[in-house]
């Protein structure tokens, strides 16, 4: 009996302590920002730049926690299954929230139902480029060259089902099914090695990897994948300008919280993101890594954006036949 009273008192104490914690002003302890890719990669850099500024703004440390694996699904799943208290966030990418759901046979989470959108960081345009030895100046000429030489050309990508693979597949689809072989690599670095050396003739990739090679003249940029021109390459016409109607290929980063995170917390985080993105230093650093920041995007806008992205890629993934166990 006495033990029972003691236990309930102890439990009561614990509960009040827990309660007191909950009533504290958010954030009252460090926030984990999960990155589902390795240290030093583009998503990690974005997270660290944003994390540093947001720590300052929120008055609590934003700790970057890398959980690489399974094409980003491992880290995203950690957040999907975390408590919706605003202390575990995800730096999401086009892979975790737009491509993987259509690509993986088994998805551990639902990109829409399991997450609360917080805000978008920015988008990175994909650039179409060829090795300098190819006698073409724009995307149209490239398509014609491939058509005239069936069974000869291939394109590189950073992996099966990666955004760069799907860029190539949309290019093939829009040109009426070119005979163009997909050659996947383990990431963008080794692919760029082979592209700049001419081992493969063409590829799509983001601006940060493409720019130095374009400037050095080892590869030639043909087109930008976004609807508007890339900030880093203002003279390069877009695919749409070159007559590829509706061609849109880019990667993006956005922050998500687990579903059912209270709205005040989401709004507070979104406001911090907007302030961070409007900061000159942060904006500049993100631009350095090829991102066109999109400050001021609301959670609702991000929700619509994700749905649109999911709808955009699903048919292309299906048509490409790409599939991951």
């Amino acid at each position: 009996m006495r033990l029972g009273i003691l236990a309930s008192v102890a439990l009561g104490c614990l509960l009040t302590v827990g309660h007191a914690f909950a009533q504290d002003k958010y954030p009252s302890k460090p926030i984990r920002l999960i990155v589902s890719f390795a240290v030093g990669g583009p998503t990690d850099i974005v997270a660290r730049v944003m994390g540093a500024k947001m720590s300052e703004l929120l008055g609590q440390q934003v700790v970057v926690d890398n959980r690489p694996g399974a094409g980003g699904n491992l880290g995203a799943d950690v957040v999907a299954k975390s408590a919706p208290d605003g202390y575990t966030l995800l730096m999401a990418t086009v892979s975790t929230h737009a491509i993987n759901p259509g690509l993986y046979k088994k998805m551990p989470y639902d990109p829409v139902k399991d997450f609360e959108p917080v805000g978008q960081v920015g988008i990175t345009p994909a650039i179409l480029a060829v090795h300098k030895s190819l006698p073409v100046k724009d995307a149209k000429e490239l398509a014609a060259l491939i058509k005239a030489n069936p069974g000869k050309y291939s394109y590189g990508s950073s992996g099966m089902g990666s955004i760069l693979h799907l860029c190539g597949e949309s290019f093939k689809m829009m040109t009426g099914g070119l005979d163009l072989e997909h050659v996947p690599y383990r990431g963008s670095g080794p692919m760029m090695n082979d592209l700049s050396a001419g081992q493969i003739p063409m590829a799509f990739d983001g601006t940060p990897t493409m720019l130095p090679q374009i400037q050095a003249g080892t590869i030639r940029a043909l087109a930008t994948g976004t609807a508007t021109r890339a900030r880093a390459l203002p003279d390069l016409p877009t695919m749409q300008e070159q007559g590829f109607k509706g061609f849109e290929c880019y990667t993006w980063n956005a922050i998500f919280a687990p579903a059912k995170t209270p709205k005040p917390i989401v709004d507070q985080l979104n406001a911090a993101m907007t302030t961070a993105l409007n900061d000159k230093a942060v904006f500049g650093r993100l631009q350095d890594v090829g991102i066109d920041p999109t400050p001021g995007a609301t959670p609702a806008q991000l929700a619509d954006f994700v749905k649109a992205e999911l709808a955009k890629w699903a048919p292309i993934i299906k048509a490409s036949g790409a599939e991951i166990d």
Binding site: L14, V17, G18, F21, R32, V63
Partner: protein, 150 residues
């Protein structure tokens, strides 16, 4: 009657053949493709055959060439160290770094022939303090120190 001359080789060869058979079974639903256009199952299958074949030769050598007999196993270190690793893996994220370290050291120490609990506990405390300072405070690894109640 056939005499086993090298128990080690016979057991080793049989072990490799077992691995090869098991891997072959798990690779059976992967598509093979052709030599010039290999599927994901091509190389695993080839390697399984090769491994099985090598295992067979090694096992047969057990009958022809003299060699060492099988030694007894030291079960205590094997179990204690394996259990220690499993404990660390399961405790680290749930109970924090300190609990994981103390528990792992306590269990792993049982691998030694004579356990001295006081010094083991002391070692656990020293390692906890050291690791917390180094990995969490100085290097900023995203680990928790204490269990997370609540």
């Amino acid at each position: 009657m056939i005499k086993i001359r090298n128990q080690q080789d016979l057991a080793g060869g049989l072990f490799l053949m077992g691995i090869a058979a098991l891997a072959m079974y798990f690779a059976s639903d992967l598509s093979m493709g052709r030599l010039v256009r290999m599927g994901p199952g091509y190389l695993p299958t080839v390697l399984c055959w090769l491994l099985g074949f090598l295992g067979l030769i090694i096992a047969l050598r057990g009958f022809t060439i003299d060699g060492p007999a099988l030694q007894s196993w030291a079960w205590r270190p094997l179990f204690a160290l394996t259990a220690g690793q499993i404990l660390f893996a399961s405790l680290l994220e749930r109970a924090g770094l300190v609990a994981a370290i103390v528990a792992t050291i306590a269990v792993s120490s049982m691998a030694a022939p004579n356990v001295r609990w006081v010094s083991t506990l002391l070692l656990g405390v020293v390692m906890s303090v050291l690791s917390t300072i180094l990995f969490i405070w100085l290097l900023g690894l995203p680990l928790t120190i204490w269990p997370n109640f609540g």
